[in-house]
Amino acid sequence: MMKHRLYRIFGAVIVMLTFLFLPLHLLKYIDSAHAARLSLSRGLMCEDIDANAPRNPTLVFSISQKKALCFTEFDEVPQKAVIYHNWYHRDVPSAKIRLTLNPPRWSTYSSIQLRRTDIGPWRVEITDEKGNVLGVLRFSVTD
C-alpha cells in the first residue's frame, strides 16, 4: 500500500518536473501544429452571400456595387478558432476583420464598403490568430 503511494508520488513529481522544464519554445510548435490544422478549403471574392453561399464570385468590383465581400470556407476546424481577414489597398492596410470559426467546419465572410477613393488593386490576406497566412485573394475596384 505504502509502495503504491510512493509510486503515485513519484509519478506526480515526474509529471510536475516535465511541465516545469519543458522548453517554452516547444509550446509554440504545439500551438503552430494546432493552427496548421486549420485548412482553408475555399476562399473567393464575391458580390453577395445568399444562404451562406457566395453569389457572383468576381475579381473586379465596380464602386457602383457599394461593397466587396471576402468569403472563406474551412473544412477542418478542430476547435473554436479565430482568423483575420486583412484588407490591403495597394499594399496599404485598410481593414483587419476578426472572425470566429467553429468546429467541425465553418464558412465566414467579411466585407468593405466601396468609395471612389478605393479604386485600384486590392488583396485580402487570410491569417490565423498568430498571423500565419492561410491564403491571399486579389481583386480590383474600378469605376
Binding site: N56, L59, D91, P121, R138
Partner: protein, 477 residues
C-alpha cells in the same frame, strides 16, 4: 595682397586666350576700318554703349532704354548704310590681309609732280579734274570710271587728260602715290550762284566737294585757270607752291613726310595696346565683377555608387547655392551650367553624412560660390537584393452591367525584382499597368507590362517585364 594672389591663381589659361582673341579682333577691326566712316560710327556706338551703362548704374531707366534702342537700331543702320564700305574692306582683301595684313598709308602723294602737271596742263589749256579723297568713301557718289592703279608721273597725268584720250573728260582719283581710277563721273553742283564761265567740269568739282570731304583740282579748258574745290568753296590758285600746300594739307603729308611710316607704325602699336587694355577692362568687368548675387536650387547628383548598393533615401533632393559674379555673367547662368556632385565611393551601407564643398560644385567661369545650404547631406545607402514578388493585375474601366470577371491568371505568376533591401522589404506585390475591361468579353488572352514603382526598382535579369493574362468573363446571375 592675399586677395591679389587668390585673384591671380583663379585666372585660367582660357582667360588669357579669351583676352588675346578679342583684343586681336578689335585690333583687326581698327586696322581694316580705320579712316573710314564705319570706324567713326563704331566709336560713336561704343560711346553710346558706355552712356547706356552709366545711365543704368545711375538708375535712369528711360534714358538707358532710349540709348539701348539707339544702339540696337544703330547696329542695323551701320550694316545697311555702310554695306558698300564694309563689302569693299572685306572683298578687296584676301583672307590673309583681313586676318594679318597691314595697309600702311605710307605712300606719300607726290604733290610736286601733281602741281607741275596741273600748271603745265593749265598752260596748254588742257582741261583736267583730279580728285583727292578725304576720309569719306566716294563709291556711293562717284559713278563709272576705269580702274587704273598707276604710279603718279607727270607724263601719266598729262596723257590721261590729253584731249584725244577717251577718259579725259572724267575725273582722275588719286590715292597716295597712285592714280586709282580715271574717267570717273562726279555729281554736279546745283548751285545757281556760280560764275557763268564755270563749265561742267567746275560744277562736277564743286558737286563732289560739297557732298564729301574730298579735295578736287579743276583745270579750265577754256581759260586755263586752276581752281581747288573743297567743301562749298571754289578757290583759284595762282602759284604752284600754293597748290602744293593745298594738296599736302589735305592728304596730311605737310608736316610728316619723313616720319610718316614711323608714325603709322606707332599709331598701329598704340591701337594694339589700346585694344588689349580695352578688352582686358571689359573682361575684368564681365568676368570678375562681383556685384550681383543669385540663389539657385540645384539638384544633387550622386556619383561613384558602389556596385550592389543603391540610394535608399537622402536628406535633401537639392541644395541652395548663393553665387556671385558680374551682372552679365550671373544673368546668363542656366541651371544646366551648375552642378552639385557628391562622390559615394567612400559611402557605406547605412546612413552616411557627406559634406558639400566647392570641389563638389561645378560653376561657369567667372562665377564664385558664396554659400551652400545645407552644406551636409545625409545619404542612406541600401544593399541591393533580389526579391520574387507576385504579380497582380491592375484592372481598370468598367464591364457592362450584366458581365462579371470570374477568373484571371497571369503568366508568370511572379517576377524577380532587383532593388534596395529596405525598399523591397516593404513591397509585397508588383502590379501590372492598368488593364482596361471595357472591351473584354468571354474568354481571352492579353499582355500587360509590369509597372516598377519606385523607378529605382528593376526587373532581375532573366525575369520577364511583361505578363500574359488569361481571363474569363461570364454573365452575372
Amino acid at each position: 595682397m592675399e586677395n591679389l594672389f587668390v585673384f591671380i591663381t583663379t585666372i585660367r589659361w582660357q582667360d588669357f586666350v579669351d583676352i588675346c582673341v578679342n583684343s586681336y579682333i578689335l585690333f583687326r577691326f581698327y586696322v581694316l576700318f580705320r579712316g573710314t566712316n564705319v570706324f567713326r560710327v563704331l566709336i560713336g556706338m561704343t560711346v553710346l554703349w558706355f552712356l547706356q551703362r552709366i545711365a543704368i548704374s545711375l538708375g535712369l531707366i528711360v534714358t538707358s532704354w532710349v540709348v539701348q534702342g539707339i544702339v540696337a537700331v544703330g547696329a542695323i543702320i551701320i550694316i545697311v548704310v555702310f554695306r558698300n564700305e564694309i563689302r569693299r574692306v572685306l572683298q578687296a582683301k584676301n583672307l590673309k590681309s583681313v586676318l594679318w595684313g597691314f595697309s600702311y598709308k605710307s605712300a606719300i602723294t607726290p604733290t610736286e609732280i601733281i602741281a607741275d602737271s596741273v600748271f603745265e596742263m593749265a598752260q596748254r589749256k588742257c582741261g583736267a579734274l583730279i580728285v583727292f579723297p578725304g576720309k569719306e568713301d566716294l563709291s556711293d557718289v562717284v559713278r563709272g570710271g576705269v580702274p587704273w592703279r598707276g604710279l603718279i608721273t607727270k607724263e601719266m597725268i598729262t596723257s590721261i587728260f590729253w584731249p584725244d584720250n577717251p577718259v579725259h573728260d572724267g575725273a582722275a582719283i588719286v590715292t597716295g602715290d597712285q592714280i586709282r581710277v580715271v574717267g570717273a563721273i562726279l555729281p554736279l553742283s546745283e548751285r545757281d550762284d556760280l560764275a557763268s564761265y564755270y563749265g561742267t567740269r567746275h560744277r562736277a568739282a564743286l558737286g563732289l566737294a560739297e557732298t564729301t570731304d574730298a579735295l578736287v583740282i579743276v583745270v579750265s579748258e577754256e581759260r586755263g585757270d586752276i581752281l581747288v574745290a573743297k567743301g562749298s568753296r571754289l578757290q583759284e590758285i595762282k602759284l604752284k607752291r600754293t597748290l602744293e600746300e593745298k594738296i599736302q594739307e589735305h592728304v596730311g603729308t605737310a608736316a610728316v613726310k619723313k616720319g610718316a611710316v614711323k608714325r603709322e607704325r606707332l599709331e598701329i602699336t598704340a591701337a594694339a595696346l589700346l585694344s588689349i587694355v580695352f578688352i582686358t577692362g571689359i573682361w575684368f568687368s564681365v568676368s570678375r565683377g562681383q556685384d550681383t548675387l543669385v540663389s539657385l536650387d540645384i539638384p544633387v547628383d550622386y556619383i561613384n555608387r558602389k556596385p550592389g548598393t543603391e540610394i535608399f533615401d537622402t536628406s535633401v533632393k537639392s541644395v541652395s547655392l548663393v553665387l556671385s559674379g558680374s551682372g552679365a555673367l550671373v544673368k546668363s547662368i542656366t541651371p544646366d551650367q551648375v552642378g552639385v556632385r557628391l562622390d559615394l565611393s567612400k559611402a557605406v551601407v547605412g546612413p552616411n553624412s557627406l559634406s558639400i564643398t566647392s570641389e563638389n560644385i561645378s560653376l561657369p567661369p567667372g562665377i564664385i560660390l558664396r554659400e551652400v545650404t545645407p552644406n551636409e547631406v545625409g545619404v542612406l545607402i541600401d544593399e541591393t537584393i533580389k526579391k520574387e514578388l507576385p504579380v497582380q493585375i491592375d484592372w481598370a474601366g468598367k464591364l457592362p452591367a450584366q458581365l462579371i470577371l470570374v477568373d484571371s491568371v497571369t503568366d508568370p505568376e511572379t517576377v524577380e525584382v532587383v532593388g534596395g533591401k529596405r525598399l523591397l522589404e516593404k513591397i509585397v506585390t508588383i502590379y501590372t499597368e492598368k488593364v482596361l475591361l471595357d472591351n473584354l468579353k468571354g474568354k481571352g488572352e492579353l499582355t500587360a507590362s509590369i509597372v516598377l514603382n519606385p523607378a529605382s526598382l528593376a526587373i532581375a535579369p532573366g525575369s520577364k517585364d511583361k505578363v500574359t493574362i488569361q481571363y474569363l468573363i461570364r454573365n452575372r446571375e
